[in-house]
């Protein structure tokens, strides 16, 4: 499908900031990339291929995302680590009324405070992003993790 260079660049930059905001532990900035009526969920390929609706994480609006981030900051305890996302190119699948859909592959590595890295999760995002003037916002992010066997635990978002 035809995508203008400007749109491609804008949405590529949106995804780059998405990944970097998590990797730099700017989760509050990460939340701001979403629309108020967003839908963020983490599912596994095992469930998707069996037609099962189970979620590892599901926020069906931006307030739920804010609640998750707040909870990480003040309430939950998890493994101290650094995240590092490596994203593939965007594959566009459709456009309707200024909302673009595309898929992106990701690898997410985690590194302990002692510097030991491991592959934490690999999979793809199914994204719906809205263009509002010069800005782009995420309406839907569905993380379909090939890595259904979560190493240790899943706290910081994918």
């Amino acid at each position: 499908m035809t995508v203008s260079p400007e749109t491609r660049e804008l949405l590529t930059a949106l995804m780059a900031e998405y990944a970097m905001a998590i990797d730099e532990d700017r989760l509050e900035d990460w939340v701001e990339l979403f629309t108020e009526d967003c839908d963020y969920r983490v599912v596994t390929r095992e469930n998707v291929e069996q037609g099962l609706p189970n979620v590892l994480m599901w926020c069906d609006n931006k307030d739920m995302l804010r609640d998750r981030v707040d909870s990480y900051r003040h309430v939950n305890v998890y493994n101290p680590h650094y995240d590092r996302h490596v994203l593939g190119p965007l594959r566009f699948t459709g456009e309707k009324d200024g909302a673009w859909t595309f898929d992106v592959s990701y690898s997410l590595f985690q590194t302990t405070l002692e510097g030991e890295s491991r592959l934490f999760s690999v999979g793809r995002y199914r994204i719906e992003a809205r263009l509002e003037g010069d800005a782009a916002r995420l309406k839907t992010v569905t993380v379909i993790a090939d890595t259904g066997l979560v190493p240790s635990l899943l706290a910081t978002p994918i």
Binding site: E46, L52, N54, L56, D63, M64, N76, V77, L149, L154
Partner: protein, 417 residues
């Protein structure tokens, strides 16, 4: 082989750390517990509803196929070809009239019997198996299967008690509570924790940690030790149920009990409160119930999230927690959605469960270098193990170890049971 365990005390209030690290202990557990007289949780009946349905699972570290034959009877047998030992089924699940090993196409029925093999009579009078080759005699090892209200258990041992005696009235009642209506499977989650499987079994029986490690419970009032609740065990103290009643404490009681978190109790509020919506759907009114069955099973209810968990040991230093989430067939779309939103609480990313993985891993890391060290398990008292009408206790952990020691044949002199 009889491992030499120097129990410092006969009430299991001290447990040597090395039991979580030793290869020989692990091998013996697989033999005497998982291939011994314990009943292991296999899967839910709802996962194999139709004739010829099958799914794969694990009993300890043994791969197992659970299948439903054409006549509706459920079978379980080792997923290992009689010929050269290949896994017969590699898929997670499926439906097939016969199961065929990929290597030499040996064929098995849904009941796990070897029914045919290529070139058995040779080709043009040459080759083939000996005339007297007995297919039946080499069929894969079968498990005895018990269907408890739709929850399937299996055992390798002829010496095992009946499932009714094993789970006890208490256990059977809990399974019935969770599975009283036809079940709809919502899906699976898996987590690999770098720690010994018994650390997870202990965690499930440790009601002391729940409101301390999982601060989400306290902060948002899902579950606090100040709520009405307690621990209840079977007569042999091998199974346990942690339970609590929604809304049975006051904010003031909680603040007094959790001085460290008190400040947060007023300040922290969920912006979207539907996460903690609870629609009572059980006559007993419990919003939290977590019956755990020796050695590998848990039924879990946190608000309207319902599931089973199966512990899959992966060597002395790791285990997988396999969780099956379910609702009921008569749930409407809104209820299914509500259960899935509530699922944010449980599983590998659960608000009230993610910490367990971390706690177990840091125990495994820190205890390796202390072969002489012991866990200290005295919260809730020493000596005989009994039910308690509160949850400031670790007594069910001692119950677990007493039955573990019995099956392993390593009880100390005068060991409590």
């Amino acid at each position: 082989m009889k491992p030499d365990i120097a129990w410092p005390r006969n009430d299991y209030s001290r447990v040597p750390f090395w039991l979580h690290h030793d290869e020989d202990i692990y091998a013996l557990e697989m033999e005497r517990i998982f291939r011994g007289p314990a009943w292991s949780y296999l899967c839910l009946e709802a996962e194999i509803p139709n004739p010829c349905d099958f799914r794969t699972t694990w009993v300890g570290d043994t791969p197992v196929i659970v299948s439903r034959a054409k006549d509706g009877v459920i079978h379980a047998f080792v997923n290992r070809c009689s010929h050269r030992g290949a896994m017969i089924v590699r898929e997670l699940r499926g439906n097939a009239e016969r199961l065929v090993c990929l290597y030499h196409r040996w064929c098995y029925s849904n009941a796990g019997e070897l029914t045919g093999l290529p070139f058995r009579k040779g080709l043009k009078g040459e080759g083939g198996m000996p005339e007297d080759f007995d297919m039946k005699a080499v069929s894969p090892q079968r498990l005895k299967v018990a269907n408890c209200h739709g929850m399937l258990f299996g055992t390798f041992s002829d010496r095992a008690e009946t499932i009714e005696a094993y789970l006890g009235e208490f256990g059977i009642g809990m399974v019935r509570r969770f599975l009283s209506r036809p079940v709809r499977i919502l899906g699976y989650s898996r987590q690999r924790i770098a720690g010994n499987w018994k650390l997870y079994a202990e965690n499930l029986r440790d009601t002391y940690h729940a409101s301390l490690l999982h601060e989400f419970f306290v902060t948002y009032g899902v579950d606090r030790a100040t709520q009405k609740g307690g621990v209840k065990m079977d007569a042999r103290h091998r199974h346990n149920m942690n339970h609590a009643y929604a809304g049975s404490d006051s904010q003031e009681e909680a603040k007094a009990a959790y001085a460290d978190t008190a400040a947060r109790l007023d300040r922290m509020q969920l912006r979207d409160k539907k996460l903690l919506n609870y629609k009572n759907e059980f006559p007993d009114g419990m919003n939290l119930a977590a019956p755990t069955f020796f050695p590998n099973a848990l039924l879990i209810q946190i608000n309207n999230t319902l599931g089973t968990r199966q512990i899959r040991p992966k060597g002395p230093g790791a285990h997988e927690v396999f969780q099956t989430l379910f609702g009921y067939v008569d749930d409407d779309e809104a209820m299914t959605r509500h259960r899935l939103i509530s699922a944010n609480l449980v599983g590998p990313a659960g608000f009230v469960s993610m910490e367990d993985g971390e706690a177990i891993e840091v125990i495994q890391k820190a205890t390796r270098s202390s072969p002489e060290g012991c866990e200290v398990i005295e919260m809730g008292g020493r000596g005989p193990v009994a039910d308690q009408a509160h949850r400031v206790t670790e007594a069910p952990i001692r119950g677990f170890w007493s039955y573990w020691a019995e099956l392993m044949g390593v009880e100390p002199a005068g060991g409590i049971r």
